[in-house]
C-alpha cells in the first residue's frame, strides 16, 4: 500500500480514528434504543478498523492492514449482524429504565476519562509516540464498557458493554505494539465470536425461562 503519508497527516488521521472510536463509545451511554446501540457498536468497529489501517499504512506493513480488515469483518460486520438477529427474534426495542440516568452517565464518562488518562501515564512514558499517546482514549472506552455492563439491565446491552471493553483492549494492543502475535489474535477472535454465540443462546433460553431478558429477573440464586 504505497500511501505516502506525511507525519502531520498520519497524526491527524490517527486522531480522527481515535476520536470516532471514543465518540461511538460515549454515545452508547446516551441512546436507549437497543437497535441504535447495535448501530453504534458497528460504527465503533469501523473506527477500530480505520485505526489499524492507518497504523499499517504508516508502517507500510501489509500484514497489519490485512489483520485490520479481519478485525473489521468481525467487529463491524459479523458481530453486529448476530446481535441484530437476536434483536429481531427477541422483539424488545428499548432499554428499560437504566440504573443510572443519561445525564449522570455522561458525567461519569467524563470522570472515567480522567481516570483512564491518569492510569495510562506509565504506558505513555515508556514510549511517547503519537500512537501510544492515544492509549487513554482506548482505556476510557474500556471503562465506559464496564460501566455499561454493570448499569444496564437488558441482556443485549450487557453484551454490548462487554464488546466495548473488548474493542478497547484490541485498540490498546494495536496502539502500543501493532497487535499481539497472529496466533494469539486468531485465538482471541475465535474465543470472542464463540462467547457472543454462547451468550446469544443463553439469551434465547432466558426468554423461554423468564419471559424476557431483563436481568433484574435473575434473582433465583443468592445466599
Amino acid at each position: 500500500m504505497g500511501v505516502n503519508m506525511t507525519d502531520a497527516m498520519y497524526v491527524q488521521l490517527l486522531d480522527l480514528a481515535c476520536g470516532a472510536f471514543l465518540l461511538t463509545g460515549v454515545l452508547v451511554l446516551w441512546r436507549r434504543e437497543l437497535s441504535a446501540i447495535v448501530w453504534l457498536f458497528a460504527l465503533q468497529g469501523v473506527a477500530l478498523t480505520a485505526l489499524i489501517v492507518v497504523l499499517g499504512s504508516w508502517q507500510a506493513d501489509l500484514e497489519l492492514i490485512l489483520v485490520g480488515a479481519g478485525v473489521g469483518a468481525l467487529r463491524a460486520g459479523l458481530l453486529p449482524y448476530l446481535m441484530r438477529r437476536a434483536l429481531v427474534a427477541g422483539g424488545e426495542g428499548r432499554e428499560t429504565q437504566p440504573l443510572v440516568n443519561v445525564a449522570t452517565s455522561l458525567v461519569v464518562a467524563a470522570v472515567l476519562a480522567m481516570l483512564a488518562y491518569a492510569l495510562s501515564q506509565p504506558l505513555v512514558r515508556l514510549s511517547p509516540t503519537p500512537a501510544t499517546q492515544a492509549v487513554p482514549v482506548a482505556l476510557t472506552v474500556l471503562l465506559i464498557g464496564f460501566f455499561v455492563l454493570v448499569t444496564r439491565r437488558r441482556a443485549l446491552s450487557q453484551l454490548v458493554g462487554f464488546l466495548l471493553m473488548d474493542n478497547a483492549i484490541t485498540a490498546t494492543a494495536f496502539l502500543t505494539t501493532s497487535g499481539v502475535p497472529l496466533v494469539v489474535e486468531l485465538g482471541i477472535s475465535l474465543d470472542l465470536l464463540l462467547a457472543v454465540l454462547v451468550l446469544q443462546v443463553l439469551t434465547t433460553r432466558m426468554r423461554a425461562a423468564f419471559g424476557g431478558t431483563d436481568l433484574d429477573e435473575l434473582r433465583e440464586l443468592h445466599d
Partner: protein, 482 residues
Amino acid sequence: MDSLLVVAPVAVPAAAAGLYAVLGWNRITAWLGVLAAAGLLTCAVALATAGRREALAGLLHSDALSAFMLIVIGAVALLAMLASPAYLAAELAAGHTGARAMRRYGVLTQSFIAAMALAVLASSLGLLWVAIEATTILTAFLVGHRRTRQATEAAWKYVVICSVGIALALLGIVMVHYAGTHAGVASLNWAALAEHAGRLDAGVMRIAVMLLVLGFGTKAGLAPMHAWLPDAHSQAPAPVSALMSGVLLSVAFYAILRVKVIADVALGTAFTRTLLIIVALASLAVAALLLLAQRDYKRLLAYSSIEHMGLLALGAAIGNTLALVAVLLHILGHGLGKSVLFLSAGQLHQALGSSRIRAASGLMARAPLLAGAFALGLLALLGLPPFSLFASEVGIARAGFAAGLGWAITAALVLMLIIVAAIGRHSRRMLLGGEPGEAIALPRSVAVPLVAGLAACAVLGITLGPLHSLLQAAATIAGATP
C-alpha cells in the same frame, strides 16, 4: 516421539470428544471418558519423568510444573468420568436429560479437559489465555445443562463475569507484550520473558501484573471477582462441578504462578506478595462470612473452594520452596477431596431432589457409605490428618512464619477457625440430626471414585513417594526463593 508425548495430553481427550460427537452417549461409550482420562494421567506421569520437552514448533512446552498440573487434571478427570455414567443414567431416568444433551455432555466435558491440558502445556502467555477463555465457553452449556431458570441464570453470570475477568487479563497480556517489545522480547513466551524480565519497564509491568492477577483470579474464584462461583458450581452436573472446582480453579491459579515468576524479577517480590496477600485474606473472609449462614450444601462446597483458593494465594505470596511445595500439594489434595465431595453431593441431590442442608438431615442412618464419604471428604478439606491437606496447610503456615508473614498467617488461621466451626455445625445437622428417612442407594460405579479419591488423599498425607522430587522441581520452576 518426544513431541508426541507433549501433544498427547491434549490430543487424547480431544479425540474422545470427537468420538462422542460421532457415536453419541450410550451404555458403552459412557466409559470412553474414563479411558481418555486414564490415558491423560498415563501421559502426565510419563512427562513427569521425561524432563523438559517441546512440541509444535515451540507452541507447547512441558516442564515439571506443567507435568504436575497434568497429573492433577488427569486424576480429577478420572474420578469425575468414573462417576459420570451412573450420574447421567439417573438424570435420564428422572427425565432431566435426553440423548442429544448426553451427547453434548460427552463432547463438552472431553473438550473442556483438553482445553485445561492445553492451558498448562502452553509455552506462551497468549496461548494460555486462549485456552483458559476456551474453558469458559466450553463449560457454559454444562453449567446450564438442566435448562431451568436457576441453571440459565448461573450460566449467564458465569459467562459474563468470567469473560470480563479474563478480558482484564488480556489487557494485562497486551501490556506485558508492550513492555516486552521495548525490552527486545517480541514474543509472549514464558522462558523469553522470564530471561529478560529485569529489563521490562516497571511502571507498565505494575499495571500489567495487577490486571493479570485480577483477571486470572476471577477464573480462579478469588475475591473480589468470585460472585459467579457458588452459582455455577451449584448448578452444574456433579461431575462437572468436580472438574471445575477440583482443577479448573487451580489451572487458572497456575497462570498466576507463571505470571509471578516474571513479576518477581521485573518488580521485586514485594509487589506481587502484597497483591496476593490482599486477595488471599479477602477470599478467606468472603468464604467465612458466607459459610456461617449457609443453607445449601452445594453452595457450602463452592464457598469452601473460595477458601482453599485463598490459601493457595497466601502460599504463593510467601513464595519460598516450602510454601510452593505445599501450595502444589494443596492443589492436588484439594482436587481429590473436593471432587469426592461434589460427586457425593450429586448423588445426594439426585436422591433428595433438593440441595438444602435441612433436606439431607439424618444422612448417616439413610446412606452410611455416602454419608461416610461426605464426612471424610469434609474432614479432609478442613485440614485434618491423615489427609494431605493437613500436611500442606501446616507447610504453608510454617513457611509463612519463617518468612516473617506471621500476621497474615494468624489472620488466615482465625478466619479458618470460623470456617471450621461453620462447616462443622452444618455437617453435624446434615449427617446426624433429624429423623431418619428412607434409605438412599449408592451405585457401585460411583462408590469406586469416592473411595479411591479419599484413599489417594490420605496416602499423600502420609507419604509423597516419587511425587516428592517432582514437587521440588516444580516449585523451583514456579520461582521458589530459597
